[in-house]
């Protein structure tokens, strides 16, 4: 069992999770990825605030959720003031839905750090490692930030790696250092 954390942190986590109300449904089998892994694999990684989420059915058999995000910082890839990304899955107003195993769901108003793949031919950008690639950026009452991961609905395919923990998450600054390491590794790979 994990060590006890401060009540403020607990409250912040509580508040963040209250906002999530995830629609994800279970069980994509994924690799367990740490922050550096995520940065190394992502086509783009950025922080931002979710300002809108809407569920679409572009055609039969596809239900997608489109998020509009005001970008605040970029870690991988080029900058863009307003990001519009679409994830598969979601629940339409009439109750019909598509559950994609472990797909994260973002709520308007929350700050997120997303690690996204290259856009597919279908216009989708998958979060790297599904829910692992969508972290919440929590700001605690003392101003400190934390990155909170999610493993909701995931089946992890490797017991060896270390993922960003759920719940209390990791310190934001330390997390950025891990991301930077991942970005550096990308450069190394590219030079090879």
């Amino acid at each position: 069992m994990r060590p006890i954390h401060g009540a403020a942190l607990a409250a912040a986590v509580c508040a963040a999770l209250c906002a999530l109300r995830t629609h994800e449904v279970r069980a994509g089998t994924v690799l367990r990825l740490g922050l550096s892994d995520l940065a190394e694999r992502a086509d783009t990684a950025f922080e931002g605030r979710v300002v809108q989420a809407r569920v679409l059915e572009p055609f039969a058999g596809r239900i997608e959720t489109e998020y509009t995000i005001l970008e605040q910082a970029v870690h991988v890839g080029g900058a863009c003031a307003v990001r519009v990304v679409r994830f598969p899955g979601g629940v339409l107003p009439d109750g019909r839905g598509l559950a994609i195993a472990g797909m994260p769901s973002l709520a308007p108003g929350e700050d997120v750090l997303l690690f996204l793949s290259r856009e597919s031919a279908q216009g989708l950008r998958m979060p790297v490692g599904l829910a692992q690639g969508a972290l919440r950026v929590l700001t605690l009452p003392d101003g400190a930030k934390r990155l909170v991961g999610s493993s909701a609905g995931l089946r992890f395919a490797s017991a060896a790696a270390t993922a960003v923990p759920d719940g209390p998450g990791v310190d934001y600054v330390a997390g950025l250092a891990e991301i930077a390491a991942g970005v550096a590794a990308r450069g190394t790979e590219a030079r090879r």
């Binding site: 069992m1 994990r2 986590v13 279970r26 089998t29 109750g95 598509l98 195993a101 609905g153 395919a157």
Partner: protein, 735 residues
């Protein structure tokens, strides 16, 4: 449990307060309705034909079929995955269509779900309605980024293991808190223990799609301290032997229902769902509180048909503790083979010297080798003969705190040993009786051979004769070298690599005609087996032309010119080197030819006069009605044959059943022959009820012309009538 986790739990409680009944089900993200199939007995599933480019031998197919089989073998449920094996369905890739539920390998990210580096191994998209009815679900493997295996290749994911898990989601199940369950949310490459269902998986199906009568233990998880309800407790029923039987998640009010129980005595435990499986491993909407410690809360004896309430049980759960056994990075479940002690390590917290470790099944001996606060290393010994199943590990601290890791131990047999089969080579046509030898074969075993599954007890399956012997009769199979795989019902398997060969082993049953003109051009039909494209024919070493493989059992060719004589060796050879031989002779005279049969019909009573025109007839000619056009065999000889000249025969038809029949002309001495399928039709006589019987058009209208033309035949018939039972030589005389 930490306060942070308590907070998480409280939040989760606010998300949904609907009851979480027995087992963990997938639920509608917004209204909590359990996701389910409306016609669970016929959930169609299609294994896409292309499969994985890692498995060009098509071995994904039996692997996925075995995963399907695992779910279909669950008892007490109406749910069944019905495989649609039609080639048309298997050719489809439109997994998004509602009318097909595909299991496919996406090798090019055509789905858009597997961009490079996504880290996603497989997903199961599930479409549903507001009421929770599933309208479509498919299993997609990320073939673009990951390597899959059906033969324990290193660093590759086991297709059957991954498929079994994803199919559980397809059926509407969420993750399980049991380390040994198929729905356990962690897997490593090469893990195969999730291939077979655990009790929790099976009870999940029973709860979702019940069939038959079982008992249910209902009760409530409360705290010993104040009697308050505990939501989201991982409630597990152990049978009298200490084996894990059923699981449930208590609802927001602490109520649980352990359904699908057979008659027997059970002990009910409640444990926090925190490590290695936690609330985060479940989908949204489940209420999970974890600030308590594992406690045996009740016991009950049930009759297997009715429900039993244990209320709040004999004990409430004890207060939370930092003492914990098991982490999500432990490789679980721990495989234990009866009679073979094994050493394992588990992580946790507070695992200090002075603690104790025990298995829920008292037959198991646990010897701790070291306590290291965060790691405990121990040896597990199970006596030979212990049945398969799952066993809890119970750790107790020096201070008396408890932590139970449910279904941490999976009892499985050793891998079957496959030595080989006899024979080791068989025809691709199937029908060969095989005996597979080895050790460790148990009832219920499945043999996988050339992508066919032969399951013990199935019609057309295999028979486990004993621990060392399995027998089966092969099905038609693809040629090549194949592993002989024996998979135990537990999912462990033994394999003899490339130990069996299916080959085209041609055989010749008949050659028709058995002789032809030395000038060539005789169309010859060879009946037999294992004729495959590319098969060649030689006569006396000379390659023959016009070879047509009509089927695996029929080959035709046209003779090349040769010197008269014989019989020569006719040899059929497949591209893989299989040969078969028969005899063929070349004759100096041309083959008989059949041009016309007039009239083309007669009565079933026989006795009709028929004129056969053609060429190259000889006095020793024989005429047969109804012979097999492919072999020349069978049929009924004409009652009488009159050789008029080399181009004309006049015959008297035999009695035959109604229908169109072949006419065969065979030269008795040379064995040359000609046959015309459906050249003569035998008709039943008119009933006389006013119908009109039309005279055959070929018959002469002038009776005198007819008399002249058929005078020789009439004379012959008169002679026949005069001498009943006339011996055969008389017939020769007529000719």
């Amino acid at each position: 449990m930490s306060r942070a986790r308590l907070a998480v739990a409280l939040v989760a409680t606010t998300l949904l307060s609907a009851a979480a009944a027995a087992h963990v089900r997938l639920i509608h993200p917004t209204n909590g309705n359990p996701l389910r199939w409306s016609a669970p007995a016929t959930v169609s599933i299609v294994v896409q034909a292309t499969g994985s480019d890692d498995l060009p031998d098509g071995s994904h197919l039996p692997a996925i079929q075995l995963a399907i089989r695992a779910w279909n073998e669950a008892t007490g449920t109406t749910a069944a995955l019905v495989e649609n094996t039609s080639p048309a369905a298997r050719a489809r890739t439109d997994w998004e269509s509602d009318d097909i539920h595909l299991v496919l390998f996406d090798e090019t990210n055509a789905s858009g779900y597997f961009p490079n580096g996504s880290g996603i191994v497989a997903v199961t998209p599930v479409w549903f309605l507001s009421n929770g009815v599933i309208t479509d679900a498919d299993v997609l493997f990320n073939g673009a980024d990951f390597t899959f295996t059906a033969s324990a290749a290193p660093h590759a994911f086991d297709v059957q293991d991954v498929a079994a898990h994803e199919l559980g989601h397809l059926l509407g199940l969420d993750h399980s808190g049991w380390a040994g369950a198929t729905m356990y949310p962690y897997v490593d490459p090469n893990v195969v223990l999730h291939r077979s269902l655990a009790g929790d998986d099976e009870r999940g199906l029973r709860q979702a799609y019940p069939a038959g009568s079982f008992s249910t233990i209902t009760g409530r998880v409360t705290r010993a301290s104040d009697g308050s309800a505990v939501a989201g407790a991982n409630v597990v029923a152990l049978d009298a032997a200490g084996r894990c039987v059923a699981g449930a998640l208590s609802n927001a009010a602490g109520n649980y229902a352990l359904a699908g129980l057979e008659a027997g005595a059970y002990t009910v435990w409640a444990s926090p769902l925190d490590q290695p499986v936690g609330a985060a491993n479940l989908g949204a909407g489940h209420t999970v509180v974890t600030n308590f410690q594992s406690t045996a809360i009740a016991s009950a004896v049930v009759d297997g048909a009715t429900s039993t309430s244990v209320g709040d049980g004999s004990a409430g759960v004890a207060a939370d503790t930092a003492f914990a056994l098991g982490r999500n990075f432990d490789e679980l479940p721990l495989r234990v083979v009866p009679g073979a002690p094994s050493i394992h390590s588990l992580h946790g917290s507070g695992l200090a010297p002075g603690s104790a470790l025990a298995a829920s099944d008292p037959d198991f001996a646990i010897q701790v080798l070291s306590w290291n606060n965060t790691v405990v290393t121990f040896q597990v010994s199970a006596p030979p003969g212990e049945p398969d199943g799952h066993v809890d590990l119970l750790a107790t601290s020096a201070g008396g705190d408890r932590s139970v890791l449910h279904a941490a131990i999976e009892v499985v047999p050793p891998e079957p040993l496959v030595l080989g089969s006899s024979p080791a080579v068989a025809t691709i046509a199937g029908g060969t009786a095989l005996t597979i030898t080895g050790a460790g074969f148990r009832p219920g075993a499945r043999v996988v051979l050339a992508n066919h599954i032969y399951a013990d007890g199935d019609l057309g399956g295999c028979t486990v004769v004993g621990d060392a012997t399995i027998t089966l009769v092969t099905r038609a199979s693809t040629s090549g070298e194949w592993d002989v795989v024996v998979q135990d019902p537990s999912g462990v398997e033994g394999r003899a690599g490339a130990a069996f060969t299916f080959a085209a082993l041609p055989a010749i049953d008949s050659v028709f005609p058995p002789a032809g003109w030395a000038g060539g051009g005789t169309r010859v039909r060879v009946r037999g087996a294992d004729f495959i494209p590319g098969t060649t024919v030689r006569i006396d070493g000379a390659l023959q032309g016009g070879v047509t493989i009509a089927s695996a059992t029929l080959l035709e060719f046209t003779t090349a010119a040769a010197l008269p004589g014989g019989p020569y060796v006719l040899e059929v050879e497949t591209p893989t080197g299989g040969t078969a031989s028969a005899a063929f002779a070349f004759q100096p005279d041309p083959d008989p030819l059949l041009d016309e049969v007039l009239p083309a019909s007669g009565t079933t009573a026989g006795g009709d006069l028929v004129t056969i025109t053609g060429a190259n007839f000889t006095p020793d000619v024989a005429v047969v009605f109804g012979a097999d056009p492919l072999t020349g065999l069978g049929g009924t000889a004409a009652v009488e044959v009159l050789f008029v000249d080399s181009g004309t025969l006049q015959v008297v038809t035999p009695a035959m059943a109604a229908g169109a029949r072949s006419v065969l002309v065979r030269l008795a001495l040379s064995e040359q022959a000609a046959v015309e399928p459906a050249a003569f039709t035998f008709k039943a006589p008119s009933s006389g009820g006013g119908g009109c019987q039309v005279a055959p058009a070929a018959l002469p209208r002038d009776p005198f012309d007819g008399f002249a033309a058929f005078l020789p035949v009439l004379l012959a018939l008169a002679a026949l009538a005069a001498g009943a039972r006339r011996p055969a030589p008389a017939r020769s005389r007529v000719r």
